[in-house]
């Protein structure tokens, strides 16, 4: 009997608790709602939308609706029919009037170079053409008889397309839907991706090697001195990246300060100066310098929080300085090390101004290509796909890091 009463009480209690907690949760939720909306509006939606562009492209299908419809029934191998030409003519007339033919031309040209002018020049004359279009259109440009053009249009007419991600991976989407490798002389993205990862990794290692002792020094010196040194570490942080990069050009170029000194001290001959810049070495040096504070600051904050008593304890227990450092001190700096390494690596992976200025032909990174597609070729879909691939790579590395080191084992400051 008592047990039944207990059960009822429990349920009642649970109800009361839920009600009490609901009000609190609601209030808490309403409080964070603005921040949530802010995050949604400024991060999640734009980034999601941008990445969506990597697989979604309605340029062709929305401007050329009739052609799109008829192409969907075409088998991509038989000869184009009069209906297909007629649909093309109708769509082109409208597109010409709406001034949208350029978008179509650009879109098809991405898959089949050399077709941009085919579209724009044909569109100029198409309103004067008469049936049968199967003959009058190729009269303007005989390239319209080329089945490749029609295949390219069929590929372009797909709204959801793996084509851009394929291109980002040096693959090519064919009109029959199969994916093959890109021509050898146009395979560039994987090379750049590998190089980007390699440079970012090396920059991270160099930042670690240089940043660790500096952070240690900062953490162990008296506050007055260490604050001064901290300002010196931060000073370049407050200077424009362009200025810092240009300063490195002045330092490292063939007629620069470093080479001048080497010649002055007779280490190298005047006509055999070292190539320290406009190559991978220059990129590594400049990027390491620029990203060093990202490594030092988290390390410093973690080291600052390690009481000296740990090392003292280790020594009192019989450990030499070396053992005390490696067995006791170093493992405790791993959270800062992990945070610094991840910060440097992720910032490095997206770098493009510095590599563009000092990288020469060996120092170009994937972000330079993304930038090119954003600003010059206006191929935002490919830029989105490249950015998407880069993000997947970063997420994979982050996952790997979590497996090896553990994300909760990271301390940003």
């Amino acid at each position: 009997m008592t047990s039944t009463a207990d059960v009822i009480d429990d349920k009642l209690l649970q109800k009361r608790l839920d009600k009490a907690m609901f009000n609190r949760r609601l209030r808490a939720f309403l409080l964070v709602l603005p921040i949530l909306l802010f995050l949604l509006v400024v991060f999640i939606i734009p980034i999601g939308y941008f990445l969506f562009q990597g697989v979604y492209d309605k340029t062709f299908s929305s401007i050329m609706p009739q052609t799109t419809e008829i192409l969907s029934e075409w088998d991509a191998t038989s000869e184009p029919t009069e209906e297909m030409f007629a649909a093309l003519a109708v769509d082109m007339v409208v597109a010409r009037e709406n001034k949208t033919i350029g978008k179509v031309a650009t879109r098809v040209n991405r898959d089949l170079p050399g077709t941009r002018s085919l579209f724009t020049s044909t569109a100029r004359k198409v309103s004067k053409l008469e049936a049968p279009f199967k003959e009058s259109i190729p009269d303007v440009k005989d390239k319209w008889n080329d089945i490749e053009v029609w295949q390219a249009m069929k590929t372009a007419s797909r709204k959801f397309t793996p084509g851009y991600y394929a291109a980002a991976l040096d693959l090519k989407l064919k009109s029959d839907g199969s994916i093959v490798r890109q021509d050898e002389k146009r395979r560039i993205h994987m090379i750049l991706m590998k190089r980007t990862l390699q440079i970012s990794f090396l920059v991270t290692v160099f930042c670690l090697l240089l940043g660790y002792p500096i952070a240690y020094l900062l953490a162990t010196l008296p506050t007055k001195t260490s604050n001064l040194l901290l300002i010196l570490v931060l000073l370049p942080f407050w200077t424009s990246i362009l200025v810092r990069t240009t300063a490195w050009i002045a330092m490292l170029q063939a007629q620069g300060v470093v080479n001048d000194l080497l010649v002055f001290f007779g280490i190298t001959a005047d006509d055999a100066r070292f190539s320290l810049i406009y190559n991978k070495l220059g990129t590594l040096i400049a990027m390491t310098h620029i990203l060093l504070p990202f490594m030092i600051l988290p390390l410093y904050s973690v080291m600052k929080g390690i009481p000296p008593s740990y090392v003292r304890a280790a020594k009192s227990l019989g450990a030499t300085n070396w053992t005390a450092f490696w067995r006791i001190y170093a493992p405790q700096t791993i959270p800062g090390l992990g945070a610094g390494a991840i910060l440097v690596f992720i910032v490095a992976i997206g770098y493009y101004i510095t590599p563009a200025l000092v990288g020469g032909q060996e120092g170009t990174m994937i972000s330079n290509t993304i930038d090119g597609h954003m600003r010059q070729s206006l191929n935002w879909n490919l830029a989105a796909a490249l950015a998407g691939v880069l993000m997947i790579v970063v997420l994979f590395l982050y996952w790997l890091y979590d497996r090896i080191v553990g994300i909760d084992n990271m301390k940003l400051g």
């Binding site: 991405r110 146009r186 395979r187 170029q253 600003r375 191929n379």
Partner: protein
């Protein structure tokens, strides 16, 4: 009745005048010495004449910002100085307002605008203001018998030293072919073929190990001045300015120059369309174009401006005429950049060029 109409017209004119006086237009250009030449030759006189205000903004070229503004329906810019390729592409994609060349004032000598502008310097959406050129230059103080032809640029045996080239296939492929003996008027038809592209890359390959790549227009004069390169391709105005303003001993080789245009375009839905159109007409007038030529060595797009071109603004002894890409001597072996070719092939050639670089 007539009196009433006149009064009405006067009132309207006054109203328009007042409206004009209150206008502020945003004009976007490339910055540096180039924008300065426009401010001196276009903005200041126009502001003095109309009482309107011109706000000058800088950008780094390309249509991405225009595209973003037009597609978002939030256009902030009124007039943009663009390259030919962007002018045509922007027009094709419906990002730009159309213009009619017949609305533009006739030349100072009375020639209608359509005939006064050099052939190919206006399109459905754009009117050129200047002709600029990609040339190559060297430091005459470091080379006694300097190069004189485009072939010399690729001849590292007789002219040793590093070469500066823009990290972009544009202009490089054309120059490579011209250096390999292809006549200027055949360059693009050769490049249309697979073999032609191979040939151009093969020529570039011959100096690949000696190349220092540049990206921003300000870099080449600096590379020359620092002695980083023996010769470099560059925009002619940048080299001229280094010579005229900083007394650098640079020498331009005009053989094999590739000339191109800068044009005014108006984004679709520009906020101050009327005033901006007035400014566009004013700044492409005979006098304004001639005046700009005393600030920078880019050739005026109007034929009627050429006789009015004087000397450099603060160096009366420096006659500008000979430093223009359009000077007859400089046009002997010259190539006009072919927009259609690049519009068709840019993506493919960019990839191929970058892959070639990475090898």
């Amino acid at each position: 009745m007539k009196k009433v109409t006149t009064l009405l017209a006067a009132g309207l004119a006054a109203a328009v005048g007042v409206a004009n006086a209150a206008e502020t237009i945003t004009v976007v250009s490339w910055g540096g010495a180039y924008t300065k030449s426009q401010v001196e030759a276009y903005h200041k006189p126009w502001m003095a004449a109309t009482g309107n205000t011109v706000v000058s903004e800088d950008y780094n070229g390309g249509l991405s910002e225009v595209k973003a503004q037009v597609e978002a329906g939030n256009v902030k810019w009124d007039l943009i100085d663009v390259e030919l390729s962007d002018a045509i592409r922007g027009c094709d994609e419906g990002l730009l307002e159309e213009i009619n060349i017949d609305d533009f004032p006739a030349g100072a000598d009375g020639t209608p605008a359509a005939d006064d502008f050099l052939p190919g310097t206006y399109t459905d959406c754009a009117v050129a203001n200047i002709v600029w050129s990609t040339i190559f230059a060297y430091d005459s103080s470091k080379m006694e018998n300097g190069p004189s032809t485009i072939a010399d640029f690729f001849d590292t045996a007789n002219f040793p030293g590093k070469r500066g080239l823009r990290k972009n296939p544009k202009a490089n492929l054309e120059m490579a072919l011209m250096a390999d003996g292809v006549a200027a008027d055949e360059v693009y038809s050769v490049l249309e073929t697979e073999e032609g592209i191979e040939r151009a890359f093969a020529k570039l390959d011959s100096i690949k190990g000696d190349v220092v790549w540049w990206e921003a227009g300000a870099q080449p004069p600096q590379l020359l001045a620092d002695g980083e390169v023996a010769m470099t391709t560059a925009y002619n105005g940048r080299i001229f300015n280094a010579v005229a303003s900083e007394d650098k001993p640079f020498e331009i080789v005009w053989d094999g120059q590739i000339w191109d245009l800068d044009l005014w375009v108006m984004p679709k839905g520009a906020p101050n369309k009327e005033a901006a159109m007035e400014f566009m007409k004013y700044s492409t007038g005979t006098e304004a174009l001639a005046a700009q030529a005393s600030w920078i060595s880019y050739g005026p797009a109007r034929k009627s401006s050429s006789p009015l071109v004087g000397s450099f603004h603060n160096k009366p002894e420096l006659e500008m005429a000979g430093h223009m890409p359009t000077a007859p001597d400089n046009l002997k072996n010259a190539l006009q950049n072919n927009f259609d070719f690049w519009a068709d092939n840019q993506d493919q050639l960019n990839e191929q060029f970058n892959a070639w670089l990475a090898q």
